[in-house]
Symmetry: C3
Subunit: 404 residues, 3 copies
Amino acid sequence: AQSSLTLFGVMDAGISYYETKSNRYTNNPLMAAPLFAPDNVTRSKWAMSTGGNSGSRLGFRGTEDLGGGLAASFWLEAALANDTGLGTAPGGIIGFNRRSTLSLSGGFGEIRLGRDFTPIYTNDLIADPWVNSGVGATLFGSLGANLATLRGPGSPVAASDHYTRASNSIGYFLPPGLGGFYGQLMYGLPETVKLSNAPQAPSSTGRYFGGRFGYARGPVDVAIAYGSSQAADGLVAAALVNNKIDIASVIATYDFGPLKLYGELMQTQDKRESTSISAITRIKDKYKGGLIGVTVPVGPGQFRATYAKVKFDTGAEVAPLSVGSTDMDASSQKLALGYVYNLSKRTAFYATVAKVQIKDGQNNPVVMGSTTGGGLTYLSTGAGVQGYAPRSSMGYDFGFRHAF
Amino acid sequence: AQSSLTLFGVMDAGISYYETKSNRYTNNPLMAAPLFAPDNVTRSKWAMSTGGNSGSRLGFRGTEDLGGGLAASFWLEAALANDTGLGTAPGGIIGFNRRSTLSLSGGFGEIRLGRDFTPIYTNDLIADPWVNSGVGATLFGSLGANLATLRGPGSPVAASDHYTRASNSIGYFLPPGLGGFYGQLMYGLPETVKLSNAPQAPSSTGRYFGGRFGYARGPVDVAIAYGSSQAADGLVAAALVNNKIDIASVIATYDFGPLKLYGELMQTQDKRESTSISAITRIKDKYKGGLIGVTVPVGPGQFRATYAKVKFDTGAEVAPLSVGSTDMDASSQKLALGYVYNLSKRTAFYATVAKVQIKDGQNNPVVMGSTTGGGLTYLSTGAGVQGYAPRSSMGYDFGFRHAF
Amino acid sequence: AQSSLTLFGVMDAGISYYETKSNRYTNNPLMAAPLFAPDNVTRSKWAMSTGGNSGSRLGFRGTEDLGGGLAASFWLEAALANDTGLGTAPGGIIGFNRRSTLSLSGGFGEIRLGRDFTPIYTNDLIADPWVNSGVGATLFGSLGANLATLRGPGSPVAASDHYTRASNSIGYFLPPGLGGFYGQLMYGLPETVKLSNAPQAPSSTGRYFGGRFGYARGPVDVAIAYGSSQAADGLVAAALVNNKIDIASVIATYDFGPLKLYGELMQTQDKRESTSISAITRIKDKYKGGLIGVTVPVGPGQFRATYAKVKFDTGAEVAPLSVGSTDMDASSQKLALGYVYNLSKRTAFYATVAKVQIKDGQNNPVVMGSTTGGGLTYLSTGAGVQGYAPRSSMGYDFGFRHAF
């Protein structure tokens, strides 16, 4: 049978500046501010960045024509931190953590086994002119990764697993040629152990399912996606806990020729239940967001701009008389501007600037504290009462990308 | 000089079910059974499996013709856990842990330096229709790996080292064209340090030697192999210890055309000595086993079946009056059935079912407690007196394999 | 645009013997020697070695012609420990730790981003007939790596970073065609964080800069190089510390045809300052060295010999009346001889013998205690007063190298 074997990759390196600013806040006006505490604290650094335009990677892929329209194919794609030469899996390992799949495809579509993007992340990528890369990366990307890392289940491959990617997954893709309609389903096996002498087992922690369906014809591309991740499920410290992260989004892009518009609406629910002998707790946090973007071909390159906003609606009940906790919500917005100058189809210079602004960051500093990248974190203290809270972040990328 | 450079590999993914069952046992009829203790405990799980038919891997190999019949060649082959994209070396590293060798070959045969299969493991592979892959893998494979992991020396590359593979090894292979006779020798350097001020050094822990000799002509292939691994040697807790694992096996396969028969006889000795001021201990455990298998070409595929049995003869002395310890031996058997459906020479579907049955597992639960894979372990308690012991294991593989 | 993509590497394996000898010393003649203490202690081992002639590696590199004299290129090169199949990054990771760079080149020269050799190490490599490989490797190589490992800053990729290589670096190379003149500059970003509420930040620990300039025409090649690594900078245990390692060298090679001569002069300064409320300390250690080497084409191979000497001048002040500390300096010398027999351009046998001799090793055992490789260390006790000190080291390599 005919077959192909391809070595491919991206090398993307740049110089970047990152900055985070945390502001002093108080939710309790009766408490005195500490002496000598500055109004805000700024952290910043210059760094060699990778993947500012497109994630650095090295991959191997191949296809074998099995006849009768059938084909077997595989895809192994490793993320690279090319500023140091190591990988991005835990411990600096170079692993095929971007994608590791084996497929059988034919008239029925494609069955894909292994580690792959989730449907919901695919939606986020397509609606983001920055393809979730560099300082301009979609605000929904930071939010999804922050929440997955905080709640779990994560995986030995990445803490953000089940937002961006899922291992041990079975994917199904509709075949092409359905009059513009396309779609996919994904199921990630939890691989937990069932014990005959432990009735609450097996935990379904780590189970993932999601789907994506859309229509693309001519200049238009619209799609909806949904994903549900079982972040926790089982007995934790004498309580039966259950935590699900459900994300839904709708995206649309329209290519007018002189410019292309991008839009996305997203809602994430973080549903947590805990049942113990003494108490039952049910909390449903919501994150709602919108993104608009535009790309404009200018000369041999492309101008890009996006604006996104995310609003956090806490599901926690607020004691009506508690001081300083009248509003437990938070919001963040991000503006990103940039230009990509193409030296060839595969090689480009790029420059990007982005700013994140956060309101009431003290109410959810971990998830809402999005930065523009670079590993900088906010100063975040006071547990929502009085201290420092994430306030804003700036970032610049000046880089060079080469695909091979 | 002419040369070749090849990128090659296997991607193999499937859905598998694994189950282990541990039974309650007592070797002391005078002790009362605990209340509410179930008669047996079953553990099970569904998982995405890799390498159910052939170990997933990615490799690079090449040969340079040096003239005069001489050739230089190298082989780098990494094991992949393609369900997650990581590797199988400790910590999930992708390393060339399957094989990493540099060779010089010519009329004299081949000298091979680096990490490679041991001769004894090669024998086990060739006598196993499942090539030690998936739930049907040879019972001798689990036994060898379990014992090597328990006793050592292992290595930073794999705990089972010196059964399946050896690093730092020098191998010699007879040239082809000896009228059907073939053979190989392997020596693994212990790389231990000699100290002028410590007379017992250097320890030879980690030294390996082995060989394999056979005859293959027409439908027949017979071979014997032997390997000796120095698992421990030196001063441990004020005692001079010495532990050797010696394995010998004879295999034969005969291809009748409509079916091919496989057979193997194996004996493993686990010899442990400990000399301290107060006591000298010498224990020689023995494991004896036999395997028969058959493959039958059926349609575009192949039917496979194997049956194997291993008997453990303890070398520990039994106090004649001890209650409940009249028989310290154990045995295990394994039956495996399957079908491989070839879509092409390189691509296939497969389905396998296997069952392991263990008698008196409490007498050697670590080594004799073979499972059908998947990381499931038995519930094993009571230290041979009263508790749970490995009893049986089931496994199913439904998978898809593609070689490139 | 035209482009190339190349898979390349080296596999080098051999059998080596290593030995270190430590001698008993006393700097205090009033102290009695311990009873039964031998005059010297020898450690030795046999090992399978890798990279005795050329560092084992696997790499991917490519170039795209962008037109107008411009080209984009990348280089990913991983070091291999092919005796075990793992890599050489911490934890046995296979990473592109030898080189990981993205370049833009044209009439202006080359801009190179990522992880690369430092200019000073390049000088050391070119002046060393052994290319810093195997038992014969340049004495300046051990010295530089020992000092970088001891003082820092190191990196997650290698403890010797900022002597041999630097990550997060921006390199500039002069274009060819300057009448024989060539040159390069390198700057390594410290990537440290600036904090608005911590005036001493950002620390510049990890900053590197260096350069190399030379002239090569016909048989002659001369070059100077300089490098400065910020090993430490900041508040450590209530003291403001600053540690810089500055290295300068000049090299020359001359190819007479029947033989080629190599020479290098090197000076390293290890400058340490510590300012606390109670004390200010300033120490400037110096290491001065010279190397001469020769290669002689003999038959299908090459004979090689080098001799090098390094003198350590301590910058620590010696209390004038202290017993036994009248000379705090030390020195080491190394002699290496070998032959490389080429089977082809890419494949060779080699044999090397080397000896290191150390004087007053007790005064700086970590940095001056160079060995011939193999992971053997000296017995080193007594903190410079009375005990064992590094004295000499022997090494032999018998190996086989194949480049692909």
